[in-house]
């Protein structure tokens, strides 16, 4: 896939959740296109639909209306096992609360997606070492999460998300539990991985200080995309501008 090929296409997506005796639209006719290799932030206040959008792109939820294409595959019509396979092969996840398996060491946590994919032991070992090295945690490989700092845990989570070379890494508020220094370092790390490895990153945040580290900022409000801006240095400005027009 070329760097500018379209990876994600969100077409007029609505996600409605039941609430008491009525419904609430977490996303309302939202549209978005993301090219391979982008480093994109989704911002907006709490309740604006950031996590819902990431869940839909990440194939862990299905839209009420509209369609989402991931690498050309319409996920709204996929059967559950195909959705699972798509997540396993093409998507890496980073969560706000790290979500590491506490009884596994850092290396074992990073190894888990490869285990699920059925990668051989030797290959797993090699890739885990590479992923941990890329996040600067080779020395902490045999530590369990409770012996790691918050920043280190999130870096392990990033290593876990990239170890199987996914087409897309989704990070839902990855810096929410980190102080400013660690948060900035994490965003810079993800950005570095984006540049070095060509991985597509989409992360949500409501921390305005981190947005200056991104190439593109999509802002949501009340479930709708209210702005889609290319920041200075954004690598795909012209392409995106043409797609969004």
């Amino acid at each position: 896939m070329s760097e500018t090929a379209e990876l994600i296409s969100v077409e007029s997506v609505t996600r409605r959740f039941p609430m008491d005796h009525s419904y609430v639209n977490a996303l309302d006719q939202a549209s978005l296109r993301v090219c391979a290799g982008e480093f994109l932030a989704i911002s907006g206040p709490s309740g604006s639909g950031k996590s819902t959008l990431l869940n839909l792109i990440g194939c862990i939820d299905k839209p009420t209306a509209g369609c989402i294409l991931v690498d050309g595959v319409d996920t709204s019509s996929l059967k559950p096992n195909r959705m699972t396979a798509l997540r396993r092969e093409k998507i890496g996840f980073v969560f706000q609360t790290f979500n590491l398996i506490p009884v596994f060491t850092a290396a074992e946590n990073v190894e888990f997606p490869l285990l699920v994919q059925g990668v051989s032991v030797g290959e797993r070992r090699k890739r885990v070492a590479g992923a941990l090295e890329s996040v600067g945690l080779s020395a902490r490989a045999n530590h369990r999460p409770d012996l790691l700092s918050g920043g280190e845990r999130q870096r392990v989570a990033v290593a876990r998300a990239i170890v199987h070379c996914p087409a897309l890494v989704l990070a839902d508020e990855p810096t929410a539990n980190l102080d400013t220094k660690n948060a900035t370092q994490l965003i810079d790390l993800m950005h570095d991985l984006n540049r070095r490895l060509g991985l597509t990153f989409i992360f949500s945040t409501h921390d305005a200080r981190l947005l200056e580290h991104t190439d593109r900022i999509v802002t949501l409000c009340d479930g709708q995309v209210v702005s889609d801006a290319i920041t200075e240095g954004g690598s795909h400005g012209q392409v995106l501008a043409s797609r969004l027009s």
């Binding site: 862990i60 969560f95 979500n99 398996i101 074992e108 285990l115 699920v116």
Partner: protein, 409 residues
Amino acid sequence: MGKFLLLAFRNVFRNRRRTVMTLLMVGGGVAGLLLAGGYFAFMTHGLRESTINNGLGHLQIFTADYFRRDEVRVLDTGIENWRQVAANVGSVKHVRGVAPRIDFYGMVSNGSKAAGFMGSAVDPNAEKSLGFVTNVVSGRDLDPRPTGEVEALIGVGLAKSMSVKVGDGLTILAMTSDGALNGVDVQIVGIVNSGVAQLDARYIRITLPAAQRLLSSDRVTNLVIGLDATEHTDQAYAEILPRLHGMPQELTLKKWIDLATYYKQVNTMFNGIFLFMGVIVFFMVLLSSVNTLLMAMMERTREIGTMLAMGTPRAWIVALFMVEATLLGVMGAVFGLVAGNLLGALLNSSGLHLPPPPGYTHDMPFKVLHVPAMMIGSSVLVVVSLALASILPAVRASRLQISEALAHV
């Protein structure tokens, strides 16, 4: 697979207090079953051997008519050529000896008082050769050598009701094989206690020749065969049975288990109690484990959501919970086996005795047998219980909505 098992193993020890409590419960169930089952096994094994050694023997030969019809006259269903049969059977492997017996009934009197009796006529030498134990509480056993006096052993209850003691004389009356009434004076040489009060109240034992004279018959009721070990019963049965064919009379061979009615009743009762206990332990382990595993599942909701988000097949989540529960079951079973056997050994060395059961006059030693089959059965029971208990939490975990699981607090 190795990492997957490692994850399951580590998850078991995630909440150590809860794991210890579960292991105590599962292990306690296994230990309880082993102790109860071991005690029942001791009781039934003891009852089996005492039933055999108190005179039942391992095998008995009767005429076929003995089971087909009631006797019209004394010993008319008895074995005629019993010496030939005994000699033929006595050479079979594992046979320790053959003892002829006559069962007879009648009245006993001391001149002022009379009572009904159940008589047994034996060859004292043959009985001794088979190791049959006669519990003589006063006096001595029957003398195998013919003497002028007819010697008799009587039950302790009968001696009490007739107000007689060793050295006293009694007259016993019985119908002969011709239908006539015959009597013989006997001298009491010993008082016996079989341990069964109802039997001791009516029991008289005399020698075989004396009984044959009393009953005017050369026949015997049956031939009792003693083996070197109870475990050889089936083998000896298979070897003896063909030798009984071609005899002038149609003969039947019975195993001890076919004749030990009381043993079978007790065994059935113990099996029933043990089964009931097993059912209780099964449900106890099942219900409490379901609760424990559901709690573990709730605590790990977000983690399960993360694993599902990463593309872990739902079947893996089911398998993970079932493997964890099975591991718990295996560890609980091992703990229970160790605890049960140690407690059993401790009880065995303590010399505890229990009061006599109804109908018995001796107190019972409290012993626990270590039965391998019971250890395997109890272990399998709890492991299966745990595996079954994990199905509900495992299925629930695998069906979690990923987005909801990830948002779980």
